[in-house]
């Protein structure tokens, strides 16, 4: 089954290798791994999607914490989350054959971000199934897909969850605490309809 881990790690050379190597050593295949900046300077955020036994989550989490550069790990699988992926899709199309792709993009709430004489580029964000849906429709309408680049899954838990990193920042910086909205004021959005992720 697919597990999704969010790891906050020190932004230093070699940290990605350490994290990736841990999965290699446990003989767990990484489906996707995204890394980028987090809310804190010097801390990167990784979202790791991995295919492992159902019970493996705790051991992976415990093992990740044994890496000195790992600050926080969250096994988000069982929580309500917003999940997004971004894809760029280049499709062969001439000015004469473009228009139906525009329509498809509209339906999927995707955007055309580049036009060339013999191709165009679609940008789409959403859950994996939405991106795969667009790709499938393109294939079924016999459009030639030239390139696909997908970021892999990014995940953030819904609602009041804040990271321990943020807590640590609060403790060390009272001014910052004042600037963070009190949790009570954050609107309850757990109940947002799931179809927000889907084409209508």
């Amino acid at each position: 089954m697919l597990h999704t881990f969010v790891a906050l790690v020190e932004d230093k050379p070699g940290v990605l290798t350490r994290v990736a190597s841990l999965f290699r050593r446990l003989n767990i295949n990484i489906i996707s791994l995204t890394v980028g900046s987090s809310e804190r300077t010097g801390v990167s955020r990784m979202t790791i999607v991995a295919d492992a036994q159902p019970g493996a989550g705790n051991r992976v989490k415990a093992s990740l914490y044994k890496l000195e550069n790992v600050i926080e790990v969250d096994d988000v699988g069982q929580f309500s989350c917003v999940i997004r992926e971004l894809a760029l899709i280049k499709v062969a199309a001439t000015p004469k054959t473009r228009s139906h792709i525009f329509e498809l993009a509209e339906v999927f709430r995707a955007r055309i971000v580049d036009l060339a004489p013999e191709s165009l580029m679609i940008e789409i964000t959403g859950v994996a199934s939405k991106i795969e849906g667009l790709i499938q429709v393109l294939v079924e309408s016999e459009d030639q897909i030239l390139e696909v680049s997908r970021t892999g899954r990014m995940v953030m838990r819904r609602g009041q969850h804040t990271s321990r990193v943020l807590d640590a920042m609060r403790l060390s910086d009272p001014e910052l605490e004042a600037n963070i909205a009190a949790p009570d004021l954050v609107p309850e959005i757990d109940q947002l309809p799931e179809q927000a992720d889907l084409p209508e």
Partner: protein
């Protein structure tokens, strides 16, 4: 103890020992302008290091150039693998962090086996390697190797340092990481230009930030309550004594727990010594070569209280049939060990001593139980039967050698074993009363470990009697360290259990490969002559009667002494659980072979000493006849 407390305590210990006070002016000018090499040694001195094991080379020369200015004893090894094992043996014998030093490239890669050994047995060592200059990193410069990449999966953490000002903070953090939590090896790779450059040095200011404890440590009230209830309700409990007891210093707490409720204690290989072998509640070692009553007790028990151990496959045998009726309380400091192999009913994740300190006040004393009587009945005279029954027929048995060595040393020596049959016989026949008296490679099973690790142990504990017990195979893997022993004139006694075979390989081939002794017969030099070439005294022993005189000669000789014990070639370690079999499914010493031996022995007596081979030996006569190596070892 929290990590911070550990750090504070060690710093105050160092102060008490006068370390870092008045030893060198370098330590006192704060901050001082020093070269990176000087900063390295000054930081090691500050961390309480008196001895290091190393081998110089191009990329570490700036550091070696500065060594003479510092109160550190450098033991020159003969191979860097030896340096890592020595640091490991030093750490295991003393509880302090061991330090190994090597140059870049081949020097660094030679450390790898030693680092992995320390990783698998959670030994705190810090390895310092030289590296090519930062300007040429990644260019395949002479003797450049990506040692941080290579050692990534076998270190607890590693660092590459390219600036002199980073050396002190990184090395200090390395020591903290190595000894905190579940200890382990840490490697610090320092470029040559960083060693040569000059920077400010301030030991105190370079102190590491508070170490993050593993966030999943958890000893909550409800788990403690469940554990207490399970312990009090158990009818057939067994305490598992693992390496964690020694690392945590929880010997007294475990003993208290056992004595209060009269719970028998079974040790893991690395747990031997954590509970006195002579104690009435001591069962001995569990697992693949554990005695039958230990493994049967585990299989019959209704509660396992696992203290600082990790349910290794050599301990459990088949997981499907493992202790089927037992609930499990797993106490360990590493959360990733919980539910890894064996599902825990209650997990208490934290420092063992701290956990037991919370548990013990809730457990009232209770008197002896039927359970203990039942185990003792299973035990019978099995613990001494083999020693008594092995025929003294002119052939020497390793069991006798180790039994006699145990008697001669009063069970008080630090015994450092290699890996193989002799290692298992050691666990069966040398009874350890004190922690840190058995030093052995458990997790990785590293042949060649014993001799260098013993050097580390002797350097750490110069007043203790140190014995190496090694096989003829493993001994030859690192026997070059005899020169190190000679150069340092270390009073180490060496027992080579020489059977002309890679004995454990041969045993597996006997049991599982139809006695196809593929590549397991091994030729050895005359070890006594070899020792003599290094100026080390020695003796060859062929019969039981010669054992004690030789052992006594070794003990009374100032300086090193090697005994070459020419033992029965095709002896076997019993009992044995086949890999993957159930824990109570043991291969026992065949009764027929045993009685055959006894007959032979009696015949010897009747015939007045004429050698008549036990039946066991004749079975493989064909093997021996074509093998010229075999006769050689008997000479």
């Amino acid at each position: 103890m929290t990590n911070k407390e550990v750090l504070t305590k060690e710093m105050s210990d160092q102060k008490a020992a006068g370390i870092g006070a008045g030893e060198d002016a370098v330590m006192h000018a704060h901050p001082a302008r020093l070269t990176g090499g000087e900063i390295l040694w000054a930081t090691l001195v500050g961390e309480g290091v008196h001895e290091v094991f190393g081998y110089p080379g191009g990329a570490i020369l700036p550091a070696y150039d500065a060594l003479r200015k510092f109160p550190i004893r450098h033991i020159l090894v003969r191979h860097e693998q030896g340096a890592a094992h020595m640091a490991d043996g030093y750490a295991r014998a003393s509880g302090k962090v061991g330090v190994a030093i090597a140059t870049s490239g081949p020097g660094a890669t030679n450390l790898v086996t030693g680092i992995a050994t320390a990783m698998l047995d959670s030994t705190p060592i810090v390895c310092i390697t030289g590296q090519v200059s930062s300007k040429v990193l990644g260019t395949d410069a002479f003797q450049e190797v990506d040692i941080t990449g290579i050692t990534l999966p076998i270190t607890k953490h590693n660092y590459i340092v390219t600036r002199a000002e980073d050396i002190a903070p990184v090395v200090r953090e390395a020591f903290l990481v190595a000894r905190s939590g579940r200890p382990g090896p840490v490697l610090v790779d320092i470029t040559k230009d960083a060693q040569a450059a000059v920077a400010d040095f301030d030991f105190a200011a370079a102190g590491p930030r508070a170490h993050r404890a593993h966030p999943m440590l958890q000893v909550d009230a409800s788990s403690l309550t469940s554990a207490v209830e399970m312990i009090l309700a158990a009818k057939r409990p067994v305490i598992f004594a693992g390496h964690g007891i020694i690392k945590s210093g929880a010997m007294r707490e475990v003993r208290t727990l056992a004595e209060r409720l009269q719970i028998p204690v079974a040790c893991t290989l690395l747990g031997l010594g954590s509970f006195p072998a002579s104690h009435g509640l001591s069962l001995g070692m569990m697992g693949m070569h554990g005695e039958s009553w230990v493994n049967n007790a585990i299989q019959q028990s209704d509660l396992l209280i696992a203290c600082g151990m990790r349910f290794d496959d050599r301990v459990t045998g088949s997981l499907a049939t493992y202790a089927p009726n037992a609930k499990k309380i797993h106490i360990d400091i590493d959360p990733s060990e919980i539910n890894k192999n064996v599902a825990a009913d209650v997990a208490l994740i934290g420092d063992l001593r701290e956990v037991l300190e919370q548990l013990l006040p809730r457990i009232a004393p209770r008197s002896g139980s039927d359970w203990l009587r039942a185990i003792n009945a299973m035990k019978g005279d099995a613990s001494v039967r083999d020693i008594r029954n092995l025929p003294d027929n002119g052939h020497l048995y390793a069991a006798h050698v180790i039994n006699d060595l145990w008697n001669a040393t009063g069970g008080k020596a630090i015994v450092v074993t290699d890996v193989g049959q002799h290692q298992m016989w050691e666990t069966q026949y040398y009874k350890h009363e004190e922690p840190r008296t058995l030093i052995t490679s458990g997790g990785l099973g590293t042949m060649g470990f014993a001799l260098p690790a013993a050097i580390g142990a002797k350097v750490a504990c110069p007043d203790k009697e140190v014995w190496v017990i090694a096989g003829d195979g493993g001994f030859q893997m690192t026997s070059a360290e005899l020169a190190t022993i000679a150069q340092e004139n270390l009073d180490i006694n060496i027992a080579v259990i020489n059977n002309g075979f890679l004995g454990m390989v041969r045993q597996w081939q006997e049991f599982f490969y139809e006695k196809n002794y593929s590549c397991s017969p091994i030729l050895s030099p005359d070890f006594v002559k070899l020792a003599d070439a290094y100026g080390i005294a020695g003796a060859t022993v062929r019969t039981r009667a010669e054992v004690l005189p030789a052992v006594n000669a070794a003990r009374s000789t100032k300086g090193p002494f090697l005994i070459n014990f020419l033992v029965e070639k095709e002896d076997t370690v019993y009992p044995m659980i086949s890999p993957g079999a159930a824990l109570n499914d043991m291969i026992r010493r065949p009764a027929a072979a045993m009685s055959g031996r006894l007959d032979a022995s009696e015949k010897v007596i009747r015939d007045g000493g004429e050698d008549s081979n036990p039946s066991q030996r004749n079975k493989n006569a064909a093997q021996q006849s074509w093998n010229p190596l075999m006769d050689r070892a008997d000479d």
